[in-house]
Symmetry: C2
Subunit: 480 residues, 2 copies
């Protein structure tokens, strides 16, 4: 496509504008016809497909089975769990008409599928032999958000939602934690994103859950992004939806449940964790195109296009490769590859060809180096691995360097202004969180399961009205 390469606003200058520019120019999306709706173009949908494929393989290895449930939920079914309906009601898109006829019962477009799974589980489960029952679904969901932002907050998004039933609470709680660890590992190994694992405060948990675990990632502007969640639902749904099983003593009991999900938000996390002033940088293991082969000045040298084709054919089966043999100028080709975030490009010009070598250019470090043609294949594998590891290490260092521990509300207010993840002794919840949010813009991200540095003593709760001694730390940050 004859796309013009537009200028990207520097991220230091205006992070929000930088993000929008990267999304627009990276060939990632087009805007849809309704406000805030987006079209996933091949360069972003391809990332999601690779996330799906790799995460799905992990699910399969855990014996998780995929199913598909209806898009539309009768509103009356949705209303059985009170906290759930109160939490979601303002965001529910509701179908009232079909053709020219009104429906007898309003149908809501799923914002999540707990209540449908509840209905399925009720019909599927008889005895403890049927448990645990572990299902997952890849689907689109709709939540009518007031403000929208591509990938981060859109009215329709794509996700996977896992739903499980267990015969005892301990097992369900353990599974909830297992899934949040699975997500953290996946983000590390495939997206090169480090995260902090923790529990949500009651105020921030999922509407209907008993407790919610989260992984929180730090974006380049220091803000937090909730990248995945895993909920322990206890019997909150099994009681109103009557999901029972016969236990080993032949008594009817309500099942214990979990649910867990990650979504296309992860694409926003990738951009804001790794991106730079040239655009998105896609981590190699989820890059739709891992390698751009650029023919340079091929008209001047037949050898250039021969070598390009030879290399393309040699590596095409093992890697996701694109060959740019157009006659556009070298500068355009390089910029075009960079702005689309292709992790590695191989440039082949007349001089390279004469020396039987090619030039590797890493998207992450912009480092260039020559590689003998005979070594190309093995060097690719190593370089992609290096890029992944460097992206992860860089993000981890940034996270570690931007964590602050505070022991007073004064320090808290100072640190939170510097765009940091602030660890604070904090025992108050709900109203205290409201006040802190109003005064500083920060929210309680989680009660971390591990602390970077173990505090030596108890400290006073930083909330001014409290000041009780506590050894519970809460991570606060401004967040997406």
């Amino acid at each position: 496509m004859n796309r013009e390469l537009e200028k990207i606003t520097p991220l230091e200058q205006d992070f929000a504008k930088w993000y929008t520019d990267v999304v627009k120019n990276g060939n990632l999306i087009a805007y849809g016809p309704t406000k805030g709706s987006i079209i996933f173009k091949p360069n972003s949908y391809g990332i999601w497909e690779l996330i799906q494929k790799n995460l799905n393989n992990i699910f399969i290895s855990k014996g998780i089975k995929n199913v598909y449930l209806p898009l539309l939920i009768p509103k009356s079914l949705f209303e059985l769990e009170k906290e759930h309906i109160v939490g979601f009601n303002p965001e529910l898109a509701t179908v009232l008409m079909v053709g020219e006829r009104s429906l007898q019962e309003p149908l809501v477009i799923r914002p999540t599928s707990e209540v449908l799974f509840a209905d399925l589980f009720k019909k599927s489960i008889n005895s403890h032999n049927d448990l645990p029952l572990i299902y997952n679904q890849w689907a689109n969901v709709v939540r009518w958000e007031k403000t929208t932002n591509p990938f981060l907050r859109s009215r329709e998004f794509l996700w996977q939602e896992g739903h499980t039933c267990h015969s005892d609470a301990m097992e369900a709680r353990k599974f909830t934690r297992e899934m949040i660890s699975t997500y953290a590992k996946f983000l590390k190994n495939y997206l090169a994103i480090p995260t902090i694992i923790g529990k949500k405060t009651p105020k921030e948990k999922f509407a209907g859950a008993c407790s919610t675990y989260t992984i929180e990632a730090m974006m380049k502007d220091g803000k937090a992004l909730q990248a995945g969640t895993s909920h322990y639902l206890a019997q909150n749904f099994s009681k109103p939806y009557k999901i029972t099983f016969k236990n080993k003593n032949n008594e009817q009991e309500f099942v214990y449940q979990t649910s867990w999900g990650v979504s296309t938000r992860l694409l926003g996390a990738i951009i804001m964790t790794h991106g730079d002033n040239r655009g998105i940088i896609i981590p190699p293991y989820v890059a739709p195109i891992q390698i751009d082969i650029l023919e340079l000045f091929a008209k001047k040298s037949e050898k250039v296009s021969n070598i390009s084709k030879q290399i393309y054919q040699e590596i095409n089966k093992k890697f996701r490769v694109n060959l740019d043999n157009s006659d556009r100028n070298p500068g355009f080709k390089a910029s075009n590859s960079e702005i689309q975030g292709v992790p590695l490009r191989i440039e082949i010009g007349p001089r390279d060809a004469e020396n039987n070598e090619v030039t590797f250019v890493r998207r992450d470090t912009l480092q260039k180096f020559q590689v003998k043609i005979i070594d190309v294949k093995k060097t690719i594998r190593k370089t992609l691995k290096d890029i992944h590891e460097n992206l992860y290490k860089t993000a981890l260092t940034r996270l570690q360097n931007n964590v602050a521990y505070v022991y007073s509300y004064d320090d808290f207010q100072k640190e939170i202004k510097k765009a940091k993840f602030v660890y604070a002794p904090f025992c108050c919840l709900d109203r205290a969180e409201e006040v802190i949010k109003e005064e500083t813009g920060a929210t309680a991200r989680c009660i971390p399961i591990k602390l970077f540095k173990k505090p030596q003593q108890t400290h006073k709760c930083i909330y001014s009205d409290c000041q009780k001694e506590t050894n519970r730390y809460v991570v606060f940050a401004k967040a997406y």
Copy 2:
């Protein structure tokens, strides 16, 4: 799960009831909470995932790129193409409210995405260098059908829809035909289903298309099932939606378009092409479980469970395998495998174990034979191939044996009662088709691109009011 294996109504006795029984007992679906809505359980969703994966690989080899467009379409955008909106309007589910607020503009849930792709193409295409542009989307769609039937006609279904733009009509027409051939080949090679390729009559074509190609499969009751379609849209959408490009003479021109799709209807086609009185038979290349290993009387012989485990581990990486080492009785295990349509089962009992062999049982022929343990792996590959080929050959023979050529309306009426695909000389369309449908229940399935036997001479059109000589044949049949 402690499922009871229920009786399936014989297909000779009541085909519709047989179908419902097979669907229900094959662990394929559960019914959802709204009328006619279904839940795809792992045994049916797994088939769809394999259809997706294999068809997607074919798409990738053709350079087709996947994208994802919004679920909701502003009604005003939908209304620009007149024939399209008239065709779909009665089936459109419309969102009028969000939370407690009314929307300013009604949003329809996509029944298909021509108009959204039109909007995207309009923004993406500038010159002939951008063409052809070939996109595909895997998505859910909603069409509010009056009567529903699992997989065959449901209010929500899953599909892929391809959408393309071309700079000239010839190229677009050629691509339309290429995609229908691709589908026919896919059904043959993966689903073991033979089809007849043809063009729809104007009455039966897609609302908004210039012409529609179809593949028609014959179900076991002789009825036709439209299994895939490919539409040449000409400039029907590009004109109202203003999708233009600069041609080589630097003039603005409207693009020429195609669209094409297959859906979860294919699951219904699989059931009604291959199923028998024991239930569904899943063709091996799309079977979520290709092989059931059944341990029989393992308690009596340790060797049995050792061999089962050894074989499972040996073949688990290459095939999709399930090991049933429960202590249920052999009869239940075999029936359970059969009713779920697993193409091959390997039974291992104490006597087999003593002889260092196992028993293979084919789901299609129910044929049993012993295989030496050392030969298991290579025999599996061959047997799965044989099952696929046998399923295809059986279906093709049935199709060929149930085609009739008629040259008078009297014969037409006789043959169509015998549940046949009837080829008839026919030059009349529209009103004549209405009359025939009223009198016989049959519809014009297609104008086939090839005839089984080439007619030697022209014949009179079978429509009583016409009787002109014609050499155009139309295939009529009752249809799903």
